[in-house]
């Protein structure tokens, strides 16, 4: 199987430039430095065709940024991104356009990702018409098709986004992404804003579309229950770095990294009754000034001297299982 997307030590940094006042202050002998946020720090990852990968992490861990780098919304600062074997920086114009259409993104808040002043017909139909995927006289039928596919009534095609409920709006966002016939969908917290009963409907829709269209998914979420249900492989991120990659069943049955263990322990589950909650110590550190060595060491119950100094590398600990923890060197 060829890899749909391959990342090789991809980093994404955001710089906070100095403003005029800070530059003046520096001229007068002050010492204000530019701040760099390492949102994504040397991440390597390959997603095979037809695979569903879950990307899990807490807010600020860089999971959305990674998703945007993969979808081509943010350029990476370092490293190589390959789409179907082609380095995206060395692509011809035609290849780059193909890549842009093949990878589509679905966002968390459908209200802020849909243009409130466009009718549904235009939201869904604009991109395929622009890219010449459908003839203009067939566009209406095409839009109807897309709406039916995601479970919307085509007679609503002249409505505006505000006339729909949250779940329906998310379906419009999905239809818009599907309209350019993508092979790969990056779903960034796509169901987090929906009610429980609506969540189930949208999850089922994602699974049906995958079966019908053979889509590849990167499912970004903080909800472990959803990720466990949908994905075949799970990637856990902490402060810009990947700390563990494993098959879903493996990961939930035998988490390796202390962070994964802690994360799984925190999840409230419906079948756990009268639970005594045991918290992880501390807060998520700021990515502007991350801890040295292993980023997790200030909160880790097993931290040793080495964790403070040396960054653990993501290594294969069993076939198809990767973890970045010094503890694996000891046993």
């Amino acid at each position: 199987m060829t890899a749909m997307i391959e990342l090789e030590s991809v980093s994404k940094r955001f710089m906070k430039r100095l403003d005029v006042a800070e530059k003046l202050f520096n001229l007068m002998g002050g010492d204000v430095r530019e701040q760099t946020v390492h949102a994504v720090d040397k991440v390597s990852l390959a997603i095979a065709e037809g695979e569903v990968v879950g990307l899990v992490g807490e807010s600020g861990c860089g999971k959305s940024t990674l998703g945007r780098v993969i979808a081509g919304i943010h350029p990476s600062s370092d490293g190589t991104v390959r789409f179907k074997g082609h380095d995206i920086e060395k692509m011809s114009h035609a290849e780059a356009k193909e890549w842009a259409l093949q990878v589509q993104m679905i966002f968390q808040d459908p209200m802020s990702s849909l243009n409130p002043r466009l009718r549904v017909r235009d939201i869904i139909g604009e991109a395929p018409a622009f890219h010449g995927l459908v003839k203009s006289n067939e566009l209406d039928d095409y839009v109807d098709d897309m709406m039916l596919r995601v479970g919307l009534d085509p007679s609503f095609r002249r409505r505006f986004p505000h006339q729909f409920s949250g779940g329906q709006r998310q379906r419009i966002g999905i239809a818009r992404a599907l309209a350019v016939k993508p092979a790969f969908l990056v779903c960034d917290e796509a169901i987090a804003a929906l009610d429980v009963s609506i969540q189930a409907q949208v999850i089922n829709l994602f699974m049906r579309l995958r079966a019908e269209l053979g889509l590849t998914y990167l499912f970004i979420s903080h909800d472990l229950g959803v990720v466990e249900h949908l994905s075949e492989r799970v990637v856990i991120m902490y402060l810009g770095r990947v700390v563990e990659i494993a098959g879903t069943e493996e990961l939930f049955a035998r988490p390796n990294h202390p962070y994964t263990v802690a994360l799984l322990g925190e999840v409230p589950r419906i079948d756990r009754r009268g639970q005594t909650f045991v918290p992880i110590k501390g807060e998520i550190p700021s990515p502007i000034n991350p801890p040295s060595g292993c980023h997790f060491h200030p909160r880790c119950p097993h931290a040793m001297e080495r964790c403070r100094v040396e960054q653990p590398m993501l290594r294969e600990i069993a076939p198809g299982r990767y973890s970045a923890c010094h503890l694996n060197d000891q046993s």
């Binding site: 409907q201 999850i203 903080h222 229950g225 322990g265 925190e266 079948d271 807060e283």
Partner: protein
């Protein structure tokens, strides 16, 4: 006061919103009670009236909304028609509320100590020093490290989880008998949510404080609460002890909600979904509000079902066709 008086008793509460488009019955005949030290989970989807129920108890329903009927007994005292002065004495000292977004409850231009000392002095005639000490102790209790220094900070200098702890600390200042928590962990990360749940659970067990935890997340309630009320379109459709409701739900809606929780399902299998969506409060279906989405509905459901107890006396349901067996 008899020891078996529940901390809170709500009887047939009706809160209506009189809008231009018609009367929206946000809460329509809700009854429940919370005993001393009990944690009640109030579960429902958006628009089910769970937040308005909380607001009605604490007397914060704004026009065009109005408590149109029913009684709210707090420690045996009817506070439904209580004067604004009486409510102000109760709010913050005996009943406290924690909101979803702590940035909205904290004043962004005042330091934490100013806000907390003000809250202490609003109800107790103590000097600034005592008030400061009580604030410091309250912050320490909810697990904020070095509370003495943190009191001098502004809300924006805290992270989301820390802010929510401050909000909880303020709610705890007067050791209230009842705390109403409205989705307090929804905006937080999993690990931070775990920390907050841990603190809240500890406080309830140690202090015998009663808690109403309003949420849409069944999983959180399953771990935390003793009893649960499931709301749908302004009515409680099912109520009982946690084990009864989660393991053997009677109402088709509860059944559907539990079925749609991913961790309850086999991986990769389609989730048991509830078709359709919640009705608009202005355009409610006739009879049982759930019947257009209900797999068990028939002609009988065009009437409003009464409360029955088909299995156990304290496991109540509003349905003509409750489930008999265990959950799927």
């Amino acid at each position: 006061m008899a020891s078996n008086t529940p901390t809170l008793l709500v009887e047939d509460l009706k809160t209506y919103f009189y809008t231009k488009a018609g009367v929206a019955k946000a809460v329509d005949g809700v009854s429940f009670s919370v005993a001393k030290g009990e944690v009640l989970g109030l579960v429902g989807e958006s628009g089910s009236g769970k937040t308005v129920t909380g607001f009605s108890i604490i007397g914060l329903v704004d026009p065009p909304g109005k408590v149109a009927g029913g009684r709210i007994l707090f420690n045996g005292e009817d506070i439904t028609g209580a004067s604004e002065e009486r409510m102000r004495r109760l709010r913050g000292s005996r009943i406290a509320m924690i909101f979803q977004d702590p940035m909205m409850t904290l004043n962004p231009v005042l330091r934490i100590d100013t806000q907390m000392i003000e809250a202490v002095q609003a109800h107790d005639k103590v000097d600034r020093k005592t008030a400061f000490e009580r604030s410091r102790d309250a912050l320490g209790q909810v697990g904020i490290p070095s509370p003495e220094e943190r009191l001098k900070a502004y809300p924006h200098q805290f992270s989301g989880g820390m802010r929510q702890r401050v909000a909880i600390a303020i709610a705890l200042l007067h050791k209230p008998d009842l705390i109403i928590a409205d989705e307090p962990t929804t905006a937080l990360d999993v690990t931070i949510q775990g920390q907050i749940l841990y603190e809240v659970q500890k406080l309830c067990r140690e202090r015998g404080m009663s808690l109403i935890w309003i949420t849409h997340d069944l999983a959180v309630v399953a771990g935390l609460a003793d009893a649960i009320c499931v709301m749908y379109a302004g009515r409680i459709v099912e109520t009982g002890a946690i084990a009864q409701v989660i393991d053997q739900p009677l109402h088709p809606y509860t059944h559907g909600l539990i079925g749609s929780v991913p961790s309850h399902n086999r991986r990769g299998q389609p989730l048991a979904q509830i078709p359709g969506m919640a009705p608009s409060l202005l355009n409610m279906p006739q009879g049982c509000a759930f019947h257009p989405r209900c797999p068990r509905a028939d002609a009988k459901c065009l009437e409003i079902p009464g409360v029955t107890t088909p299995r156990q006396p304290d496991h109540r349901v509003r349905c003509f066709h409750p489930h008999a067996g265990a959950a799927a």
